[in-house]
Amino acid sequence: MAKITLEELRKLRQKKQDDLQKRDIAGKDCQIIVGMGTCGIAAGAKVVLDAFLKELDAEKIENVAVTQTGCMGLCYVEPTVEVVVPGMPDTIYGRVDADVARKIVKDHIVGKKLITDHIYDRPSVDIMKNGGK
């Protein structure tokens, strides 16, 4: 990648923000984001990540991007996973293991149903979205 100028940086930012709005991540409309901070990894996030990839592969699901993120602040219920599916609320699941991962693929992504007993909420407002007060 070439070094960018100020103008190019601003254009890049705008484009990425638009992509986020459109929920378009590398051309896919669904996203599974696994918390991969040390707290998550220590709790078994890598196993969860592998379970997702395996399950999506087995079910031949092509429109889901699996990415990683840092600590969401829900350390006491790690591993945590955020699931983004158009038409459904963005959901954060906690205490995820390989079984729950498979359930998420089957029920949430395919069946468009939330998984009970595993839903958690972000502990704070997103100050970058609202400007915060």
């Binding site: 901070g37 993120t69 840092g70 600590c71 459904m88 468009k112 909420d121 609202n130």
Partner: protein, 595 residues
Amino acid sequence: MAFRNYILVCGGTACESSRSKEIYENLKAEAKKQGVEDVVQVVQTGCFGFCEQGPIVKILPEDSFYVKVQPSDAAELIAEHIIKGREVKRLLYDKDKASKHAQVEDIKFYQKQFRIVLRNCGFIDPENINEYIARDGYAALERALFDMTPDDIIAELKTAGLRGRGGAGFPTWMKWNFSKNVESEIKYVVCNADEGDPGAYMDRSTLEGDPHSILEAMTICGKCIGAHKGFIYIRAEYPLAIHRLEVAMKQSRELGLLGHDILGSGFDFDIEIRLGAGAFVCGEETALLQSVMGRRGMPVPRPPFPAVKGLWDQPTVINNVETWANIPVIIHKGGEWFSKIGDADSHGTKVFALTGKICNSGLVEVPMGTTLREIVFDIGGGIAHGKKFKAVQTGGPSGGVITTENLDTPIDFGSLIKIGSMMGSGGMIVMDEDDCMVDVAKFYLNFTVDESCGKCMPCRIGGKTMLGILEKITAGNGTMHDLDQLTEIGETMKKSALCALGQTSPNPVLSTMRFFRDEYLAHIVDKKCPAGKCKKLVTYSIDPAKCKGCTACARRCPVEAISGTIKQPHKIDTSKCIKCGECLKTCKFGAVSVH
């Protein structure tokens, strides 16, 4: 096919006890009864953390937040909200908000946290610079490079009132200003990522989750003071954070946001990573700088201060990771915005690593001025397993304990010092009735004695001597005179040790002695440990009334301290007993007890 609505019923323990399970079942039944079970899905979730207003029910996608819901409300919720699309106002949290869609984000008290430092953690892939950029990443750098002078940057920080988050709370604008005003061709910017407090991992999570914020902040500082080289001194025990930083630096350099002629501004700045090698004392700024220069990590006297004469005798700004993480937000949103958060003594937020005997352990970031009670009980969810709160320890090995009587202390730099503790870097360890405060003091002192660099006599000798006395006390050989000696040595170390490690290492001891003197007296006078923690002071015994003589414990005992014939009550020889606890674990009849 997705559902049109989702009803989330909070399933935390508090809500459980208020019948949230019943609410959940009723809602499901009503949905079926009213024929909308294909339109709305009802799920039970984890704790939302708003226990005092529970049971909580949240309905998406409107984000309607219903509080104090009763099982009997289920029918109305389905009929009104789901079928007719009208919110049930009497159950809404903020009744004054007449708007159709009450935004959850506006509710301050529900979500007591306010994440500035951790703003991107959990929102972005830290190994993808585009995601950082999309969330206004590097916008602050744009401003700093093209729209602001160094004095403007200082002014913005001054308005913000940001104080160092490493523990000392020194005004950041002042430190940068000192360096800016020294005439020198060569200056340095350093990030202290040697987070050493036991139980603290705020900096680690920030670096793992949002490494670019640090890079951006250091570059802004470079522009402000006139430095072109930065160092991130990070402890080698954080390999993931190191990896994420390296990836971030690589991506940043590729785009030209780090290195030569950044964004075509003509400004050069690059950063090098230096690894720590297992010394807690290298988190002390002067010792850290010695280590960067390849020397033994021992603190040196100040003045001169690093801001004026630091690395290789050049002006050096050194700040903690958390301080750095605040910088881009302050430059981007303005110091004015930042100054409104927090209280008069301390602006902004503070990240705490809430751990120990707590339900919801994890990283919490709260505005300064939030009380300890709110953190421990509201955000933390109270003490786990129904035990009683005893104390919370802030500031790691440099801090003191805070008891119930001071739980309403607002968290800011000044208030904590008044009650004999300190903010420190943000470790917050909660203790319950099973924790022995003498043992806690001994644990921390053991740590600081091990980590003492050994240069100055008060810390090297004083710390070890105090530890020896504590070991005497927890072994049952303490005397009242020992308490006087602990105070004497502790006070001396506070006045004459060379660096903050030595000066603050007596704090856990002095603080527990102040607030839990009765526990010390129990150990010394009664030779007993009330919490049952200190091994040498507990005795194991078998209740002959409950003992069935099954010999299971005797067979388990590694030192053959239990004697008795089969089917007859057994006895423990306390002189042989090593208090390993195996007999207690083995006995199926509850005949073994510990005092």
